[in-house]
Symmetry: none
Subunit: 199 residues, 4 copies
């Protein structure tokens, strides 16, 4: 059971779960997910012990995927400002390109089935992002605010920005920029200023 026969089937189930949950909500029947994956309803339970188990694995996978997409292409040597900006762009792109994943993730986030353990692991997945934020707020006005709180605020601004980018795609770029500027202001513009006037 540690390594079920077909990794493919597991992935198909995860993918189908994303779609179906995005479309029908968390109360979507497991049978619908199985069908979406081209698998019998019984088989779902050889890959996931429980619907809740599926939810937890899916949650973690989506969050990890999001984090990875967000950090994609970041070079540690690049100036902080550049890294930060790229991170935001990546994040927004992930959100707009993967509306199903985003919706499923949001639904799962507000769901009692998600274990503390899973939440902790998902937290872990965001550690690179957190580290970047850590640097960004380093000696700004939020220097004494708990990192988790800072990350939570940033995430919440990100979500709000995504919502507007999605609901008003004509001005998606402007919204992305407005969200980013708001974030920078919130964190304190020290690093930005530094970036602007190096010397």
């Amino acid at each position: 059971m540690a390594r079920p026969k077909s990794e493919d089937k597991r992935d198909a189930l995860i993918a189908a779960a994303t779609e179906v949950i995005a479309a029908q909500g968390l109360s979507a029947p497991t049978a619908a997910i199985a069908r979406g994956a081209g698998v019998s309803n019984g088989s779902l339970f050889t890959y996931f012990d429980t619907k809740a188990d599926l939810f937890n694995q899916l949650y973690l996978e989506l969050k990890t995927g999001m984090a990875a997409a967000t950090m994609e292409g970041l070079r540690a040597e690049a100036p902080l400002r550049e890294q930060f900006s790229l991170m935001w762009a990546n994040w927004m792109r992930w959100a707009t390109s993967n509306p199903d994943k985003r919706r499923a993730l949001a639904l799962l986030d507000g769901c009692d089935d998600i274990t503390g353990q899973t939440r902790a692991a998902s937290h872990q997945a965001m550690s690179d992002v957190a580290e970047l934020v850590e640097q960004a707020r380093a000696d700004g006005p939020m220097r004494d605010v708990p990192m988790d709180f800072v990350v939570a605020m940033m995430s919440s601004l990100a979500e709000a920005t995504m919502d507007f980018m999605v609901s008003d795609p004509e001005h998606a770029d402007e919204h992305r920029g407005a969200g980013f500027d708001a974030l920078r202001r919130m964190l304190g513009e020290t690093n930005q200023r530094a970036a602007f006037s190096p010397r």
Copy 2:
């Protein structure tokens, strides 16, 4: 006119729904809500046509209550900065004093049963808050960002702040302050600075 529909009973149902939903989620049985209100399961449906109807009415009531609590005691003549600060304090107090209402509201917000109409009405309920924000960002850096977006960002920061105040009550005051400062910075500190150095 026979036994009239009792406002008390309706209120009891609304209150019970808040509690039960906070505790068990949106899939809580209507029978549990009725029991919580000390009423037969059938009676619930003389006050609400449908579970979804109950959800909509509850959502609106919670949101309206939240908005009212948030604006309580604000004097229009007072300096903007003072009003803004009091609003934030009110809001946070409502959230920490009414965790059930907050959780129920959050769950309902992500629920397909909530009508567009209901959402529109709930939007309306927040109009006073929005107006205050309108003034606060007036000639700051967000002056060209759509109001809805500004409000959404503020709300998202508020939610994040509430989460930390609740989960770490020892430092609730500091979190509240940190959230408020972050908000001010995001909106641009023009008005604050003005308030500080009137000279």
Copy 3:
């Protein structure tokens, strides 16, 4: 309770029951019937102890009304053949003019709630009709068949005829005639022949 206050209300309930049952079947809510009568749902039960009681009274009333309409204008002195023919015409007219009553009656007929007593009384209501048939079959081939059976057969032919008159109104007259002729043939044409060639 023997004489409820308003005979009008009772009649309104009976009329509404006919309509509603014709439209929705026997499972129609009593509340719908009350509403149709412009009366509160509770009031229905001051006029009828029970839904089954309403059904019984309605059944009897419909059957009695049908029988009366069927015998309307028959002169006992008129030739049997003429009476018989008029009866048939009356019966068919009643059916085509009162489709709701007919449908309600049919539904009630196949319903377990109708008491043996009620059925006996309704039988009684048809006694005039039965008597006419009694004469018609007097010395024909059915002279030894139990009257009830003869009446039942006639009624069943009548129902079949009504069905076709209603479903194919363009040829209603022909269907009525065909049904009548079939009935006469079944009963034996002695009396008719006698009527035709008296001498």
Copy 4:
């Protein structure tokens, strides 16, 4: 292919439905039917999508079975009169031997859940019977009456006859005969007479 859907179980459900409906009417709980078939209530819905679906399939099956029983042992080469007489005997035997089926069929017939499609198919099932009637009325007095009407009349006489055979079993044979004679008279005795006096 996993446990295949068992024909036995389906048949048990159909049989149980017949019994239960005959006993309790169409409002019989699906759970009662399932119990009668020795099956869980949920299982009923793997064999029938809906209570209405069960009703439709049952209706068709009963009607088809009745038609088959009615035509059983008829030899097309035999004289019409003999065929006709055997058909009637078969039909009456089916009715008296299967009172539950008959009652269930009657209830279903007056039920809105039965589709037009189902009715059409059930019509089809009676086509052999209809054909026989077609010949019987061929050049008699009903030669110009629509076949459906003729069949409907015959069926209605059959039902009346069955009622009396069942309710007065002591004279079942006489009733059967009386019904048959009535039918022959209705159709016109030409063919019979021809059969009697071939010369």
